[in-house]
Amino acid sequence: MPIPPHPATLSRLRHMVAKADASGAAFPEDEPLDLGVGAIDAALGGGLARGTLHEVFPAAPIQIGAATGFALALAQQAVTHHGRKQALWIQQDFVATEAGIPHGLGIDLWGFRLERLLVLRVSRSREALWAMEEALKCRALAAVIAELADHNAGFDLTATRRLAHAARRGGGIGLLLRQRPQALPSIAMTRWVVASTPGITDPLGGMGRPTFELSLVRNRRGPCGRWIIEWNRDERLFVPATLPGDLAAAARNGSNRAMFARAG
């Protein structure tokens, strides 16, 4: 009967393997990136793993803004909790017309400092994959966000495996941001489906803090799950959402979750 490994032993062994690895993968900060919400971090086994790929999907095409916000928030966590301070956003031209370009003022308001962001525009998905691979290998980048057109050729399991390998070498996080809620095969560590939900309106009747309904539909290191969280852009951290009862109940059922869990 197999004995479940003790977490501490496992982590010690991982460190030993990392040190023995001649490619120099033993980067000093390889502990996971904690999101600050206990339930999510627990599901992720301590936080979002660095040196891996993660996929972010919008729940509907109009929710691409929410997915973008979540990806940027993750990148923001990576640049603050990490020795490196820069993030790269790779965008394919087609995506720019389809889903808009990153808007500097909005990004700044979102809590991501503009001088930490590099933006690369490419025309073909093959170029985007090349750029992402090279960027992931670069140790100066904390996060690489890539937006590829969904119908692109060349994006397959092999391509994601190459990216994952590059990410492991570089130690940053790779975020694949998609425009449509259709999962493609990939070997990403986690897969998130993001929708914004109506948050609490502020006392003056305006819109409240940005609130996400977050579905973790694929997690190679633990259980999947579903949470409603807020992003506090002033403090730059996630907090569990404080929702009125009817809104929490109105959160949609996970009918599309099965599809995401199956693919890839």
């Binding site: 929410a66 140790r139 819109m207």
Partner: protein, 506 residues
């Protein structure tokens, strides 16, 4: 020089003033007694069935530029002398080819091999060389004017050899002055008074009494290294190896002067005369040979067939166009040079995709959403504030607002470069929307904030054509937040305002 020798008589015809005249004839036509500047009517009267072609000065100029590019293999300092002349400053270059005679023979031989008819002359002054090359009656061996023999070489030349305008030459001929010898010892003042100052200047320039700078076609790079091959190379690995070798030499030279390269140019001279030029900019002063090789490897990979080696390259030249001070950096054993890594990544991406595509977003002082951010090449921004210390992040002058406060107007995280038309319904013509249809999907509006009224700045809109926009921040029933605007003020600017979706909030 530009007319290739053909056996059939052939003439080139162009407009000269009001008349159509011959601009060039080939050898066969010259033997028939035809010559340039002859009216076409005369030539056709003599030989009605002449083969002729239209002159194309632009193409001639283009060809001359190409030949000048090719001549770059001998010296970087080349001036054009249209329509058909080139001036090469070979000071300090001749010994590389085994002396002036050998250089001259090599150049003429190679150009003739490409089908051009060439006359070359080497002299102390531009004027003398140009005159001798065009008008010398002696054999080719005499076309090298030894130092000090300038005047003697000029004496027998016709006055047209001084690069004078036709009017001046004719005026001189009327008074019986035909050769340089006729005027060289005349007093200058009467000559200048009668025939214009240009005559005296040209004479002085040819004699070397007045300096005549060559306007170089390209700026002279501060560092140039090159390698010549007896057998041309064509394999990419060979080319990259050569680049790395040359980069080593460059790095040594630049290190001595405490400089690093910001712009590196590679010139590949093909054996058939074409020259490929590849320029690579860097974000920070660069001396690292491996990185330089990497950049060119990326660039060559993207160029692909554009950089066709043909039968191979026989000269590879690497030059540094722009340099910047670059002090040696102490690299720690443990700390990784993050700033250097980032600069290298930016260089590689810029080399591969073009500097315009690797951008940083810089806020601008304007309220118009589409102008509020300008994307500038990261390469040009980085070097200004580059820090050598690991972990220390570069900072930029980020325009007027960096770290906006909570009172800043709310802006979406994604913006459409072209606002997307939507169908929207508002309860009152100038009120917020209650529902909108975007890409065939109907969304009910739960909450709307606005309007935020943004009118075009008057200095951007001189004609007053751009309508005022009322922006609404809208939350749908499902929670999606979008930025809509109504174009045109109801009843003041338009009766039927149109709605657009301009951005998406997180």
């Amino acid at each position: 020089m530009l007319a290739p020798a053909k056996s059939k008589p052939r003439i080139i015809v162009g407009e000269r003033g009001a008349a159509r005249r011959l601009t060039a004839v080939n050898d066969a036509a010259a033997r028939l007694g035809l010559e340039p500047d002859m009216p076409l009517a005369d030539a056709q009267a003599m030989y009605p069935a002449l083969e002729r072609a239209e002159a194309d000065p632009e193409q001639d100029r283009f060809l001359l530029e190409k030949i000048a590019d090719w001549c770059d293999r001998y010296t970087p300092l080349i001036g054009l002398h249209p329509p058909d002349g080139l001036i090469l400053d070979i000071s300090g270059c001749a010994h590389l080819f085994g002396g002036e005679t050998a250089l001259c023979r090599d150049l003429v031989g190679r150009l003739e091999g490409q089908g051009f008819k060439v006359r070359a002359a080497i002299a102390d002054t531009v004027g003398c060389a140009a005159g001798v090359a065009r008008f010398s009656q002696t054999g080719p061996e005499a076309d090298i004017v030894s130092p000090g023999a300038t005047k003697a070489a000029l004496m027998p030349l016709p006055l047209a050899g001084l690069r004078l305008s036709g009017r001046v030459v004719r005026a001189l001929a009327q008074v019986g002055l035909k050769r340089v010898a006729d005027i060289v010892d005349q007093p200058r003042a009467p000559l200048a008074a009668r025939f214009g100052i240009s005559l005296v200047r040209r004479l002085d320039q040819a004699l070397g009494d007045e300096d005549e700078p060559i306007a170089p076609r390209r700026p002279l790079p501060p560092y140039v290294v090159e390698r010549r091959f007896g057998d041309p190379i064509a394999l990419e690995a060979d080319i990259l190896g050569t680049i790395e070798h040359l980069a080593h030499e460059l790095a040594r030279m630049m290190e001595r002067r405490g400089e690093g390269a910001r712009l590196v140019q590679l010139a590949l001279f093909r054996t058939d005369g074409r020259v490929h030029r590849i320029a690579i900019g860097t974000a920070a002063p660069l001396r690292d040979t491996q990185r330089l090789r990497r950049l060119f490897a990326d660039k060559l990979a993207t160029l692909g067939d554009e950089c066709d080696p043909g039968f191979g390259f026989d000269v590879v030249r690497l030059s540094v166009g722009v340099t910047q001070r670059c002090d040696p950096v102490q690299t720690g054993l443990e700390s990784i040079n993050l700033a250097g890594d980032l600069a290298h990544l930016i260089d590689r991406l810029s080399a591969r995709f073009g500097p315009q595509r690797v951008m940083r977003l810089i806020p601008q002082d304007t309220h118009i959403p589409e102008f509020a951010i300008v994307a500038l090449p990261a390469q040009t921004l980085l070097h200004q504030t580059r820090s050598h210390h690991a972990g220390q992040e570069p900072t930029f002058a980020c325009g007027p607002l960096s770290g906006q406060d909570s009172l800043a107007p709310v802006r979406p995280i994604r913006l459409f470069e072209r606002p997307e038309p939507v169908e929207a319904v508002a309860e009152v013509p100038d009120g917020p929307p209650v529902r909108f249809r975007w890409r065939h999907v109907l969304h009910e509006v739960m909450t709307a904030e606005g309007p935020e009224r943004i009118a075009m700045e008057w200095w951007r809109d001189e004609a007053g054509q751009v309508l005022t926009r009322d922006y609404f921040r809208v939350e749908s029933r499902q929670g999606a937040r979008v930025w809509l605007y109504r174009e045109g003020l109801y009843e003041r600017e338009t009766i039927q305002p149109r709605w657009f979706l301009h951005g998406l909030f997180a």
